[in-house]
Assembly symmetry: C2
Homo-oligomer: 444 residues x 2
């Protein structure tokens, strides 16, 4: 049997911190504020020994003078007075990746909040960690303070996961739920979110779904035992969602959310294929995800024995993300075992991307068209020719200060490839003033 | 550093199963259905070696002939071909407790779904497990398939938990949400729930809040580092909630839920006091718990860095509970370390029960009164004399086939002791035909 405790006189867990932005400062504050309880739960003290960041003199609201300052962060990996390196530098490659590789190679544990690095290099790093028999932990990389990596890797470990889906980007959810509450359009709401610090100066990663795709690719690896395949995520952001779409969805009994979803299907040749998508979708008002507003994240995992599990909480912010980083450190301090992705990397199955055309469901389509006769006939004819059956059609008024008219419709439950075919037929039409917005309707 | 894997040629985890009811049969089905993935994630095979239950011949829908049948379940603890005993017998004392004690004394890991036993004897068993350096795990004892013990013990381990609250009894929630949907009264809904298998023949533990109190006491121990104190839970069930209360709450913008809640407050002498209660409460329709319907459970934990975390899922049932039992077995197989209650039993602090009279909040009160002049004046005078300010008062119609009239009111935010005082003043009154129903209103 293992030794679950025997904590008397255990030496401190000696930590090196690379990157002291808001999350790093939050982690230092957490370890100061909650020092006694963290030590009691970890079974040993936590001690930050050394820190490294770009600017030494920047005011971060925490006292760094008590730690050893290191200019070259890669040097942290080689120090023999360190047990674990916390990487909060960010970026898929560059300094973060170099540090991660050297930390593991030096036989030290690595805790990271870096979703891009894990989404792109998680397999390589996990295999290295397994080979070196060290921990690689990344709870903070997915959904901020929500322990969803642990929830899938351990809490739901007895289940074949049938599907995971959820809201994985707080900025997008903040924008969509603010648009819902105010009736304002995307651009104005984004600008307001940027002014309030809820969106970055360059919001591309958040509003175009890339951040959510990073997180989804990581969760899919754990949930389905599939090799992480970030480039295969079909990714579409929220920048084309208009106030009119939100109003129309509301009238139909839905809200719009940026949904990240993954599941596995058996292909014709018997191999497993992985569907991964990040897309704005219509969520029925009675669904738990419809009530997730602001910068909150939420993940649903459907297990074959557990049924539907929901994990919800703050998806970002210094406090919640620090909470996840230190939870990982406590696991490391407790000597928690197990490979990073629940099964060894060698057993993760590379899965082809699922072809989603045969999937069925109700669909919302919104066309931006020129205000002239015959446009509606052209659209409905294309639908008919592609075998798309229209459940309801709403021609909305003219868009302010433009010649455009919005036409929204809901298509009956049918294969997605028919929708795609209808859009192809309409592709060359001069009646459409912009590419149509197509959103799947999530079933209750 | 620890060895996070090296799983090659690890021997099977050898399991003895005591108690083969619906959960035990579910666990056997799970280990059959998900055998390969459970082995991959656990890093070794799971093998049920021996089973014991009251009736050998009962048809459970699973084949037990492949396991060694043991008539005296206590003998399971002594077998040297067993690594872990799964106790699914139930009951706070008796055979379950005897088996638990002997299993730990024999140096074997114990996994249990027995909330009553952990609520009553968790401290003794955890201390024994710590002394024997074996795992004691009880994820399935709280909230069925939801990994909330893990969520608090590990996922939120970096936080001082400020409050936990939630819906911990599926039967009560099923009854309340069915009453809400149908307008039927408690007795009729309970009978229907019993007919459908959602409530037991003797529903006392579920509908009177005792089952939720067991679970709350366990969660409070983990969340607050307090010694488990089940008798201190202030416990009130849902059997006095009427259809009229639910209708009235709805008109005010609320739903009624059986809420389990615990938090810690600093008393005048500087010591920490623990408030634990299970009571029907009014929950605002915008609150995540208001959307929890049917037999679903949900737990909110508010951490000082994580913020509000929500864990939601199936609170009972063979599949979800088996999912939690096997998650614990996977932790045991992985050599997961750490003491049962997050900190060693010797460090758990015995906390006095918090006196809640100074706590404030809005309150719903419903009186059942005789239909005669002056009753309303009598009630409102008592309120005035106790310093309770009435926000709204609704005199409802006569109760069908009776001489009773229902009077509901909402009291302004004020100390609970004032409400209690008003009820004392009204205590001797012959106008009240039944004890008043008092429900706290949860803030959004």
């Amino acid at each position: 049997m293992t030794q679950p405790h025997s904590r008397q006189d255990k030496p401190s867990l000696r930590i090196a911190l690379a990157g002291v932005g808001t999350v790093g400062a939050g982690m230092i504050r957490l370890l100061d504020t909650n020092a006694a309880l963290v030590a009691a739960r970890a079974g040993r003290k936590m001690e930050i020994v050394a820190v490294s960041a770009r600017e030494r003199s920047k005011n971060r609201g925490v006292d760094l003078t008590r730690f050893d300052w290191v200019d070259d962060m890669t040097a942290l990996a080689a120090r023999d007075d360190i047990d674990v390196v916390v990487e909060l530098v960010g970026g898929a490659d560059g300094a973060a990746l170099t540090l991660a590789r050297s930390t593991i190679a030096a036989g030290k544990a690595l805790v990271t909040a870096n979703k891009a690095m894990i989404a792109h290099h998680g397999m390589e790093l996990a295999q290295a960690a397994e080979g070196a028999c060290v921990s690689l932990k990344f709870e903070a990389a997915v959904a901020g303070g929500i322990p969803v990596v642990k929830g899938l890797r351990e809490g739901a470990a007895a289940n074949a996961i049938e599907r995971i889906y959820g809201i994985l980007n707080g900025t997008s959810n903040y924008i969509l739920s603010t648009m819902e509450a105010t009736g304002a359009d995307f651009a104005a709401t984004l600008a307001q979110a940027q002014a309030k610090g809820f969106a970055e100066a360059d919001p591309t990663f958040d509003v175009e779904g890339i951040d959510a795709a990073h997180k989804l690719a990581i969760l899919a690896g754990i949930a389905f035992g599939s090799a992480i395949d970030f480039p295969a995520v079909a990714c579409e952001g929220i920048s084309r969602v208009r106030a009119a779409d939100i109003a129309q969805a509301k009238a139909l009994g839905y809200v719009i959310r940026l949904i990240a979803m993954a599941d596995v299907e058996r292909s014709a040749d018997g191999s497993d294929c992985l569907l991964q998508l990040v897309k704005p979708c219509l969520v029925p008002r009675g669904h738990p995800l419809a009530h997730v507003t602001g910068a909150t994240n939420a993940v649903v995992a459907e297990g074959n024995f557990s049924g539907r599990l929901l994990f919800q909480g703050a998806g970002a912010g210094d406090g919640p993300t620090a909470s996840a980083v230190v939870a990982d450190l406590i696991d490391v301090a407790r000597g928690e075992s197990g490979v990073p992705f629940s099964v060894p990397v060698a057993e993760l199955v590379p899965m082809a991307a699922a072809e989603s055309g045969h999937r069925t469901g109700r669909t919302y389509l919104r066309f931006t068209v020129a205000d002239r006769p015959g446009v509606l006939a052209e659209i409905t004819a294309a639908m008919r020719d592609a075998g798309v059956s229209i459940e309801s059609l709403i021609q909305q008024g003219q868009v302010a200060e433009s010649e455009e008219v919005l036409v929204a419709m809901v298509a009956h439950d049918g294969p997605q490839r028919n929708i795609a075919h209808a859009l192809e037929l309409l592709g060359p039409s001069s009646s459409l003033t912009a590419p149509p917005l197509v959103m799947q309707i999530i079933a209750g």
